[in-house]
């Protein structure tokens, strides 16, 4: 049976935690509102960039060897299953592609991805990026990532971006979008229906599409992350208030027990004098 002092200490610390989680929820609610507002125009970039791949029905030929996986997440935790779902998808894809005999490299956007993958799949990591999630992502961020990728010297044939697509305040889904290399797109037969395409234009378009897709996935990812953090902190505050209620009851019971014990001692002491 805990003493009054222990229960008081515990109660105080849980009340502090509840204040912190409540304020974190407010902060992420504000960030989520801003992220959702910025997501609407950003979706246009993504759908526009992917429209060429879909309309021209570009598919990578099966015998291509080099794969690239880009996992988009962030640096900060306390947001539910955001990082682990990306890492799980990445690990599954690495296993599938390695078993099929393809060469895979992974690019991690966000420190959490690096942390989750380094121990077991560290040799697959090509590059990672940090300072993601502190501020809302801009096209400049996507350009930096795309430039580093192009300058890294890894000539991939096919790739995919794995990110958390925002569905609603309470739900997000881990999604995958394809990226193709220049040779795949140039070699696709249906490309001849487009006017005025030459190799230089295609290469420019490919580089720009990479930045576009990264920008779109970054925007979706941050919105999902903020909504997940809001939910997680809300649950934490609710759990904390439950614990506070239970502890307050035990505190009152303990207090009454202490008073009763003192009374018994006094009365039995007085009775012994008679």
């Amino acid at each position: 049976m805990a003493t009054l002092k222990d229960i008081t200490r515990r109660l105080k610390s849980i009340k502090n935690i509840q204040k912190i989680t409540k304020s974190m929820k407010m902060v992420s609610a504000a960030k989520y509102a801003r992220a959702e507002r910025e997501l609407k125009p950003a979706r246009v970039y993504g759908t526009g960039a992917l429209a060429l791949y879909e309309k021209a029905e570009i598919k990578a030929p099966e015998d291509k060897k080099k794969h690239l996986l880009i996992g988009v997440s962030s640096d900060r935790g306390l947001c539910g299953a955001i990082h682990t779902s990306i890492a799980k998808t990445l690990k599954n894809e690495i296993t599938n592609l390695s078993n099929a005999g393809k060469e895979v490299m992974v690019v991690g956007v966000g420190d959490k991805i690096r942390g989750l993958l380094q121990r077991t799949h560290g040799n697959y990591l090509l590059l990672t990026f940090k300072e993601v999630g502190r501020r809302p992502p801009s096209f400049g961020d996507a350009s930096v990532i795309a430039s580093e990728l192009l300058n890294s010297g890894y000539e991939f044939d096919e790739g995919s971006v794995i990110y958390n697509r925002f569905r609603s305040v309470i739900s997000y889904k881990t999604d995958e979008k394809p990226i193709f290399s220049l040779e795949t797109v140039a070699g696709s037969e249906s490309l001849s229906i487009y006017d005025d395409i030459d190799a230089d234009v295609l290469r420019n378009y490919q580089e720009f599409t990479l930045a576009n897709i990264l920008y779109y996935s970054l925007k979706e990812s941050t919105t999902s992350e903020q909504s997940a953090r809001m939910t997680a902190m809300d649950n934490a505050s609710k759990n904390a208030s439950e614990m506070i209620d239970k502890l307050t009851l035990t505190f009152n019971r303990t207090r009454q027990a202490v008073i009763t014990k003192e009374l018994i001692e006094i009365i039995s002491g007085a009775a012994a004098l008679d």
């Binding site: 956007v109 690096r114 380094q118 560290g122 990591l125 090509l126 590059l127 990672t128 990026f129 940090k130 300072e131 993601v132 502190r134 501020r135 992502p137 801009s138 096209f139 400049g140 961020d141 350009s143 930096v144 990532i145 795309a146 430039s147 580093e148 192009l150 300058n151 010297g153 000539e155 290399s181 220049l182 140039a186 070699g187 001849s192 395409i197 030459d198 190799a199 230089d200 234009v201 295609l202 290469r203 420019n204 490919q206 580089e207 720009f208 990479l210 930045a211």
Partner: protein, 73 residues
């Protein structure tokens, strides 16, 4: 993606399957990628904006991401 190669001017690139020849852009010859080229163009546009819109544009375009190269052991 292939890296930029410096070629003598004027340059012709042929698309596989077609017979047409095309010019490589001057910035591609200088070694820039399209992303770097568009970044420079956007910088110039931002520098030419009026002061009341310039600050907002500069803030929106800030890139905060840093690269971490994995250490080879």
């Amino acid at each position: 993606m292939s890296s930029a190669v410096v070629l003598p001017f004027p340059v012709a690139l042929t698309l596989p399957g077609s017979g047409a020849a095309a010019m490589v852009a001057y910035w591609r010859q200088a070694g820039l990628s399209y992303i770097r080229y568009s970044q420079i163009c956007a910088q110039v546009v931002r520098a030419a904006m009026k002061p009341q819109y310039k600050a907002e544009a500069e803030r929106a375009a800030m890139a905060t991401v840093k690269t971490v190269k994995p250490k080879k052991e």
